[in-house]
Amino acid sequence: MSKTQEYLRRRPLGRFLADDAAVLPVAPAARPAHVGEVVESSTTELIAEACQLHGAPPFGRFVRVEFEAPIIAIVYNVFTHSIEPNRRPTAYGKTEAELRLEQPQIFELLRTEFQALVVGYRDEYGPAPILPPQPARIHSFVYLCEDEEVAEFTQSDEYLRSILGAAKVPTDELLVATLRHALRARGGEGAYLVEMGKELSRLLRDDYDRLSSILRRIAR
């Protein structure tokens, strides 16, 4: 008998619980827990369901999808919606704390999902700023990239090109947010900002206003 089954058997309410509610109360693991699970996947982007309601990784954050060759992606859109297509959330005029006490069911009917732009993967030779040979598998777990991983992946400036070349993403905003995360992962190292600034000025040389707006916002 699995641990989950054993736990459910012991709980009086066990037999009535939905499968997704049968989460074992576990001690914090040495390895950080995943933040989401892939529910739609293609070579260039993926959609993941966040483990917690409103618990998606921040906009512009680097995430890693566990795979033989882990896939690196950047979160570019987060959305929360009703899980039932024909049931829309309505206003209750109460704070979230009040709603949690008096309308607890609504939080079970909402899901947070996030979309991430695939920018590369890692193999035995290190980070590769190239689209992976195969897309992430559905139901694989999504983890936040550690600072070292972010620093390693953003060593090369190729990810800036990936963002600039992506369709249907808020390009400039994503550039600003991603660069700020990359900068933070390096402890705010000024030299890195200068280096990336130079690359951006090459990429956006025909649009000075746009470039200066991006740079101003990164340095803010």
Binding site: R11, L13, R15, F16, R87, L101, E102, Q105
Partner: protein, 420 residues
């Protein structure tokens, strides 16, 4: 840009749908009749209100008359207080959990690949005031074994039909509600068990004795387990059509000291009598409030949150309920008057009764007019026609994969692929 080719919108529309223009004239006739009925209805309602007021003071006299009379309609019994007494809304305990179940089914279909049926039960446990995670789930049960698909009642062996599945589902809703509530209580919840619809299994009347006994015994065993756990059980009836209170007023209008509908002297086919000769009005003397329901009457009496006194129902099946004899009250739930049914042991326990009153109103408020736990239970349980289709297709595929012979009827096949 290339334009997509569209079918020209000309000529008559598809003839396979309901022919609305053909219904139109019938709807017009119905509206005329309704309008005439409404005028009449206002007079009836006014009379019912006046009678309600009149008997408020003399309720004991009416109570005696109810005991003595033999009517062809249901009367409330066990009157113990004035009719027009209203109970204000008691406060709901800050920490409370509401358990509810609802069921749905895929009926056996002899035109489909296999003779089986499915019952899906939705389980809801909503904890209030603690921030605990609610329980919202559903569990399907497939009935396919020989002894499940055929039942033997009253000496006859029959293939399970829609009616039997309905009974089975209703029973499962009750027994599972009891199990869920008791499990929640064991985990430290203070529970109110809410059931969708009536607690009176009146549809068992007229069924074979062995069938009736077995179903009733199972339902009452669930009631008993809740009683042992002191978990109040309540049946919530939205838009009740019941007329027990109005029937009492009807009885009040009867000029006889004790009514006997079988020997009513005012009926047109009764032998001529002195009573009928004196009677000036139209129809029967008790007809003045006919057609008014308790809910319509009490809408004029109760304010939001208030409830009526508790009455005992006099359905015949309740003679076999023992300590679980069903009592009821009406509650102004906001958008409508709801009928709340409780077993006698809840009705007699002031604390439990207040709990049910407060909880039922609160649930309706939270669900914008209808108890949120019941509507969520329905959402979990419901098997829509698309689900039914998927179920049979899945069943079919599994049969084929495992090389099991099965066949659908030509009628079913024709429904799926209707040619032109």
């Amino acid at each position: 840009m290339r334009r997509r080719w569209r079918r020209p919108r000309c000529g008559r529309r598809s003839k396979t749908m309901l022919d609305l223009p053909a219904v139109k004239s019938q709807i017009d006739a119905m509206v005329l009749q309704e309008r005439a009925g409404q005028l009449d209805f206002q007079q009836k309602l006014a009379l019912a209100l006046a009678e309600h007021e009149r008997w408020a003071e003399q309720w004991e006299g009416l109570s005696v008359k109810i005991e003595r009379s033999r009517t062809s309609w249901l009367l409330p019994t066990g009157l113990s207080e004035p009719f027009n007494r209203v109970y204000p809304l008691p406060p709901r305990p800050a920490i409370l959990s509401v358990a509810a179940t609802d069921g749905s089914q895929i009926y056996p279909d002899r035109h489909e690949i296999a003779g089986c049926f499915l019952i899906n039960i939705g389980y809801i446990l909503l904890p209030y005031g603690t921030g605990q995670r609610p329980l919202l789930s559903s569990k399907p049960t497939l009935f396919y074994r020989e002894e499940e698909v055929y039942e033997q009642w009253g000496g006859r062996r029959i293939l399970v039909n829609r009616e039997l599945v309905g009974f089975k589902r209703g029973l499962m809703e009750l027994t599972e509600l009891a199990e869920l509530s008791l499990a929640a209580q064991e985990e430290g919840h203070r529970v109110v068990a809410l059931s969708d619809g009536t607690l009176i299994l009146w549809s068992l009347e007229g069924k074979p004795q062995d069938f009736k006994e077995e179903y009733l015994a199972a339902a009452l065993a669930a009631f008993e387990r809740l009683r042992q756990g002191r978990i109040p059980l309540a049946g919530y009836i939205s838009r009740p059509g019941s007329q027990e209170l109005v029937n009492a007023l009807k009885l009040g209008l009867c000029p006889l000291a004790a009514a006997d509908c079988d020997r009513c002297p005012w009926k047109p086919d009764s032998p001529p009598s002195a009573e009928r000769a004196r009677w000036q009005g139209r129809g029967l003397p008790c007809g003045g409030v006919e057609g008014v329901s308790d809910a319509v009457l009490l809408r004029q009496v109760l304010k939001p949150g208030e409830r009526s006194p508790v009455y005992q129902s006099s359905s015949r099946i309740l003679e076999e309920y023992g300590p679980h004899h069903v009592c009821f009250f009406y509650l102004h739930a906001g958008p409508e008057i709801a009928r709340i049914e409780v077993p006698a042991w809840v009705a007699e326990d002031g604390e439990l009764l207040d709990l049910v009153h407060a909880c039922a109103y609160d649930q309706a408020q939270k669900g914008q007019g209808y108890p949120v736990s019941l509507s969520e239970a329905h959402e979990r349980a419901v098997v829509r026609s698309a689900d039914r289709e998927s179920f049979y297709r899945f069943l079919e595929e599994t049969f084929v994969k495992n090389d099991i012979r099965g066949g659908i009827s030509t009628k079913s096949l024709k429904k799926r692929y209707a040619g032109v």
